[in-house]
């Protein structure tokens, strides 16, 4: 017992200061791709090579990325002959479809300082799931921000859905949504949940949560890093 206590004392605090103090990401980090308009010759190779079709180009304008489809693989950067594409360092990419106040009826109370989350795996590769596990660990510790993960949808305010919603989980996903009492928010976590991502239209899944459940907030990323998840959650409850 004493050794356990001593080890904890010796280790000290390991909690990250995000979102109060944002540390810069490493120079190798692959965030949202950006185009250098001086170097881009509008050849369209990046649009062609993108494995998820996330890059769009309009005539004689430099290409742009639709983050909800991007898997941040960096293949566009790899393929561009002119070095016009670089993977930037932006990772706070939450797309709020509807905010808490828009979604809830007038007179209904919003969420206060105690928000409970239920994770719903709808066919993910477990990347987003592991990042959510990291949120509950000592480093990101989202309880300090008023969030907690709960075991039952009946105790939840927010459903964090990962994966494109497979055929085999569709019924379970709908049941989980119905079991969550209103007011509730649905957060699509990861590119698969936002748009299908690498999972193309298929017999086996529904290419995104929005095709099955009403989504309020999208957090793209493959998977979104824990800081991006925190950013998305704070956005969802309008704390940012």
């Amino acid at each position: 017992m004493l050794r356990i206590f001593r080890k904890g004392y010796k280790t000290g605090m390991s909690t990250d200061s995000y979102p109060y103090d944002k540390k810069p990401v490493s120079s190798n980090f692959r965030g949202k791709p950006v185009w250098d308009s001086d170097k881009c010759n509008l050849c369209g190779l990046c649009v062609e090579c993108c494995p998820t079709g996330a890059i769009a180009i309009e005539k004689s304008k430099i290409p742009y990325v639709q983050v909800e489809k991007c898997i941040f693989c960096g293949y566009c950067e790899d393929q561009c002959a002119n070095g016009a594409v670089t993977m930037g360092d932006e990772y706070e990419l939450t797309l709020p479809e509807k905010t808490q106040s828009e979604r809830f009826n007038k007179g209904q109370p919003g969420f206060g300082r105690s928000v409970h989350i239920r994770h719903l795996d709808a066919g993910s590769c477990n990347g987003c799931d592991w990042e959510m596990v990291a949120l509950t660990g000592p480093v990101y510790d989202i309880q300090r921000l008023g969030f907690d993960f709960v075991a039952s949808p009946r105790h939840a305010d927010i459903l964090m859905v990962t994966g494109p919603v497979t055929r085999n989980l569709e019924i379970a996903a709908i049941r989980t949504f119905k079991a969550t009492p209103a007011p509730k928010l649905v957060v699509a976590v990861g590119t698969c949940a936002c748009s299908g991502g690498i999972c193309e239209k298929s017999y086996a899944h529904h290419s995104g949560v929005e095709n099955i459940l009403p989504v309020d907030v999208y957090i793209p990323g493959c998977p979104p890093r824990p800081q991006a998840l925190i950013h998305g959650l704070l956005k969802a409850v309008e704390k940012l």
Partner: protein, 530 residues
């Protein structure tokens, strides 16, 4: 070339025994592909296993009607003494889609054969289990996704069907259904416990909830694009999967990744093993409510994941591999960072592991819990730390060397009890070995190219990529189509072999020990379901 002589001997041995029923089709790199007669499948497979010492490591069904006019079944064998895999290919006629089951002779074939029945509609005659495996009860009869004429984008209607679980009957038996959505941040699967009081008598699982049809999706996709799918089959073994895929492509292309690239792969593969094992040693404590271990494990795992992001730009080591090499170099600056972090993590982890493994109340929970018998592990071809904890001395890094493992010295720890404690012990030992491997690889790495260009691939060529992921051996089977496309891609992950093994370890334990046993195997659902 000893290997060539040895392979020649094998070919002669097989020819002598089976005559015209077996013939060499092609040779791709180190592996030989034999064509065998369908009616001799059982005898040949049994001979391979019993007399020649080969293990069945994967089985693939393929719809080759548009190329060769029939279906094909591939049996992949590997022998850890001989250091090369052998592929047997049997043709199945279109108008008689059935093949003799080998499950009763080689139990490791049981899930492969059921999957072939579900996905391709080729019936394994004599298979003891007639239930579905991949498809759930609401999937229509007579619809087979991996046949080439199945439209991958079609909407499949739901039919009503009943779950086919074995029923344990008797006085005081309780059936406990759990899942598919679990109380925690875990992947989905349905478990059916039959118990008397707290004692589990039988456990069955319904899996494949996260089936995303990724193998079907890869059909006719370009080889470059399928790489990104292979990385996203499972996040925790992401790099192992992409390495196995790249290996298969490189074999078909007849190229080898440059030496520096192979060293970089080795470093990254060991980083993957490290973050998984450290996380697992901590997470297994969660099964016994020992939060000290969980929190310190999570903290140290996070150190490695931050390192992954700082070095390779992705916390899950995605985007490193590309057929023909790697995309990111390891400069001296990065090497220094890796060594620094490893030094502090090693010291820190030693202290944590020592406390965990000397805590009596924790040891009381993990000792003798969830025993995997050596015989079961052997019969079901269990892999990875779970098999090594049950006394099976196999590790692809040593037995079928890839990347730069042939140039590095390391020990493969094995234990004999096969209980939860030994599965923890294996991981703890492997963590120190991994750190040693990374240090050696960083030291031995020479300057040079990190990737070579991939040229046009020959069409309808078959190759196998084998990698030891943190959870055990994974086997990627790839057949190319015309114009650098994928014709058939099959992923046999470590979890595929270990799920059936896990289910045998639970009966005899109490229900609350299931999370503990489950965590000690640490199986992926996404890897299995694909």
């Amino acid at each position: 070339m000893i290997k060539n002589n040895e392979q020649q001997k094998l070919i002669e041995q097989l020819n002598e025994k089976f005559g015209s029923d077996i013939e060499v089709l092609t040779k791709v790199c180190s592996e030989i592909i034999f064509k065998i007669s369908l009616n001799q499948v059982q005898d040949i497979c049994l001979f391979m296993k019993e007399n020649l010492g080969f293990d069945l490591i994967s089985m693939i069904g393929n719809d080759e009607r548009e190329v060769e006019g029939h279906f094909a079944i591939y049996y992949i064998f590997a022998c850890y003494r001989r250091k090369y895999p052998v592929v047997l290919k049997a043709f199945v006629e279109e108008d008689k889609p059935e093949f003799p089951s080998i499950t009763l002779l080689i139990p490791a074939a049981h899930w492969y054969e059921r999957e072939i029945r579900d996905m391709l509609g080729i019936e394994p005659i004599g298979h003891p289990d007639t239930r579905r495996l991949v498809h759930h009860s609401d999937w229509p009869v007579g619809l087979f996704p991996l046949r080439r004429d199945f439209d991958p984008q079609q909407v499949v209607p739901r039919y009503s069907g009943e779950d086919q679980f074995q029923r344990v009957k008797g006085h005081g038996i309780v059936n406990i259904p759990v899942g598919p959505i679990h109380a925690g941040i875990i992947e989905p699967g349905h478990f059916r416990f039959s118990a008397v009081g707290e004692n589990v008598i039988n456990l069955e699982a319904q899996l494949f909830y996260t089936h995303r049809g990724l193998e079907k999706q890869c059909q006719d996709q370009s080889v470059e694009k399928a790489l990104f799918v292979s990385e996203r089959i499972c996040a925790a073994c992401s790099l192992s999967h992409s390495t196995a895929y790249c290996q298969a492509v490189e074999k078909i292309a007849g190229i080898q990744a440059p030496e520096r690239a192979r060293f970089i792969r080795t470093v990254a593969l060991e980083l993957e093993r490290l973050y998984n094992h450290i996380g697992d040693v901590g997470n297994i404590c969660a099964g016994a409510g020992f939060s000290f271990g969980v929190m310190h494990g999570a903290r140290l795992k996070e150190e490695i994941m931050k390192l992954n992001e700082a070095i390779f730009g992705s916390r899950f080591l995605r985007g490193i591999n590309i057929p023909g090499g790697v995309r990111w170099d390891l400069e001296t600056r990065k090497k220094k960072i890796i060594l620094e972090v490893l030094g502090s993590v090693e010291k820190d982890f030693r202290e944590v592991a020592e406390i965990i493994l000397s805590n009596d109340s924790y040891l009381d929970r993990v000792e003798t819990t969830g025993k995997l018998l050596h015989k079961t592990a052997y019969d079901l071809h269990a892999v990875g730390p779970a098999a090594r904890a049950a006394g099976i001395d196999q590790d692809c890094r040593r037995d079928l060397p890839y990347a730069a493992y042939d140039q590095i010295k390391f020990v493969i720890p094995t234990y004999t009890e096969g209980d939860v404690l030994d599965r923890i012990n294996i991981r703890v030992d492997e963590i120190y070995e991994s750190i040693g491997i990374i240090r050696q690889a960083l030291e031995k790495m020479q300057e040079g190219l990190i990737r070579v260009e991939l040229k046009q691939l020959p069409a309808y060529q078959v190759a196998v990529g084998i990698v030891e992921s943190p959870r055990g051996e994974i086997v990627h089977f790839l057949m190319t189509g015309p114009n650098n496309t994928v014709y058939r891609y099959m992923v046999r992950s470590a979890s595929y072999c270990n799920w059936p093994a896990l289910l045998t370890t639970v009966p005899g334990n109490i229900v609350p020990d299931f999370p503990l046993i489950n965590k000690s195997f640490e199986l992926c659902y996404a890897c299995l379901d694909r």
